[in-house]
Subunit: 355 residues, 2 copies
DNA sequence: GTGGTTGGGGAAAACGTTTACCGTGCAAGT
DNA sequence: ACTTGCACGGTAAACGTTTTCCCCAACCAC
């Protein structure tokens, strides 16, 4: 089987204590000579500490848990990637658990992780506050990332939605638009509230007063973007720009504009949010706001690592800013844009009514 | 801290050996009375075996590893979900590692997992055959799922690409089409080879001879679907149907058809492959072949569990069949279809040139 | 009555680490 | 010369399980 610390110690002619000391580079001094000898020998024999034995002794496992409601979501996987990339450098690996929006499953998962001497947990887009006490009791550090409900003050990292909506709105203002519609997500998501706020504040800063007739409410889905755009259009026939709370609704909105005989971006400029895959593929390709999921994962992991190292976390609530991704749907100067997936040399974008 | 087997044994007035025996329901008999007493007490005290200690003793960890090149891919996450769902019922959890197409990272990951007494590994969409010997040496079972290169015979589960292409082609034939174009993926992927084969065999079975002028080669991306469709169209002006090797190329193809003044599905029917998110969102929504990723993950996990249980695996190469997802782009009877994301009551689908 | 079997249970070794506790031997300070 | 301190290293306990070996009582067959 695998080579143990005992065998390594015997081979080096020292005690296992010495080996352990050089490997864990602790305070206890070891002569430079034996140090390099053991290190060389360890490398040669391919020695790898048995993690189970170490965990048993130290009650730490070099493992962090990621609890999410469903790993099968584009949001979640990018955050996981960010977390992994960061903790990996510190020698940690990740176990991922899908809790399926079921508090009982989540609770069970937490207990399981605790019995595995997990070092820390990040809750991605979820938290049912089940077994919160369990974690506190075993004082296992935990962090939230992209959590939906912000009712309590917790260590968490979230996207800066206000800033993102500001970016989108300001971009449209910069392009000369003044009547800018907004299709919001469901109000119970703070993302919706914050994005609406960013939209309003940016307009206000420009001296444009808020007009409720320019705002519709969707449910993040394509069909609601379609309906929302029609609603806004009906109240504002002279609309020149539309900002959608996410890319799916932006797609629906563009379908609606097309059906209304309006061209994008020529007649109406459109900006989405999230930078989902569809934004790249759509024609016209969508200008949108990126959700900085990878960076959020990294930030959450850094907070967790700090906690594990006994440090104070940098801040209680960390907000990560996304950025504007300029593509075709906003009608901005092509020089600013990334090339579209399919450029049509002869014809206007597919959504234009020229056919 | 957590309650140990010692405390549980003391509370029950028995030895730890007895407790261990009832908990692991092994051959050694225990009287029914003490059995229920211990079980009740364990439940009451919230006893959970320390996994590290158990691993140390048994060299098993109730953990299986998933190695993939990049967790941030729609394909991968659905397979992971399938794996998780299956192994969870057997008490296993999953650690997932992204190897980034780097054999060295993969090798390192394998060693890490071995030192953690991992019970089994599934390689998802990857394998650099690094450290294959390591696994064999420690006789850790492993399985491949959705592996790209099939040069060697290994325990693996893959989608039945021939069947999927057959489904698509047959569907178009059933709708009355005879001149059916095909945009293939890059030849070095067996998925491309198999899909092409399914296409050819289905045509042959119908007595239609294979025409190379109806086949183009893409690279899975949107732009290549655009180019491929144009190429086929130029050689076959009377084309009535197009089958694309994936949904992205199907999207590109539909853009090309639109630009050529052709309506989908009225003039040309289109079928994609993979059932990616875009297939649902696109207008017209795409008829496509599902990639049975969840089922593949489940199957792979079942094979692994069988191996872990000492059983013989059911088969060496398991192929999972996808199914036809009928939507708008093929022009089939609407009664057969799932409702599109956005139905337009007044106008034809967006891709039609009526504008 | 003797020997064998069987149901039930305990003692203790072992798994591979980390680490608290002790020894040396040597240099420096008094 | 006698402490004191430090650099270096060994011994052994401990972590919480599983499992081997053993024991005891009861029962059965002869």
């Amino acid at each position: 089987m695998a080579v143990t610390i005992r065998e390594l110690a015997d081979a080096a002619g020292v005690s296992i204590a010495t080996v352990s000391r050089v490997l864990n580079h602790k305070s206890h001094p070891v002569s430079e000579e034996t140090r390099v000898r053991i290190l060389a020998l360890a490398d040669e024999l391919g020695y790898r500490p048995n993690v189970a034995a170490r965990s048993l002794r130290t009650d730490r496992s070099s493992t962090i848990g990621i609890i999410t409601d469903n790993i099968d979501s584009p949001h979640t996987t990018m955050m996981i990637r960010g977390i992994q990339d960061t903790v990996k450098q510190a020698g940690y690996i990740c176990v991922v658990i899908s809790a399926d929006w079921d508090p009982e499953v989540e609770r069970e998962a937490i207990h399981d992780l605790v019995s595995r001497s997990i070092d820390g947990i990040v809750f991605a887009e979820t938290w049912h506050r089940s077994a919160n006490e369990t974690l506190a009791l075993n004082n296992i550090p935990f962090v939230f990332v992209h959590r939906q409900y912000a009712s309590e003050s917790r260590l968490s990292v979230t996207p800066d939605e206000v800033y993102g909506a500001h970016l989108a709105t300001q971009h449209l203002l910069n392009l000369g638009h003044r009547r800018i519609g907004y299709i919001n997500g469901p109000e119970q998501f703070w993302a919706s509230a914050d994005r609406l706020r960013g939209y309003r504040e940016t307009l206000a800063a420009q001296g444009i007063e808020y007009d409720p007739a320019l705002v519709a409410r969707g449910d993040w889905q394509v069909a609601s973007g379609y309906a929302g755009a029609n609603q806004i259009l009906q109240a504002n026939p002279r609309l020149t720009a539309l900002f959608a709370g996410n890319d799916l609704m932006a797609a629906g909105a563009m379908y609606a504009l097309f059906d209304a005989g309006l061209r994008v971006p020529d007649d109406v400029a459109v900006v989405g949010y999230d930078n989902r895959e569809i934004a790249r593929i759509f024609r016209p390709s969508m200008t949108t706001i990126t959700l900085p999921l990878h960076e959020m994962g990294q930030a959450a992991a850094q907070v967790l690592l700090a906690l594990l190292g006994g440090e104070e976390p940098p801040a209680c609530e960390i907000k990560i800013q996304g950025r504007l991704m300029v593509r075709e749907s906003c009608g901005a100067d092509p020089a600013l844009r990334e090339p579209p997936m399919v450029r049509n040399p002869r014809r206007p974008p597919i959504l234009s009514p020229t056919g």
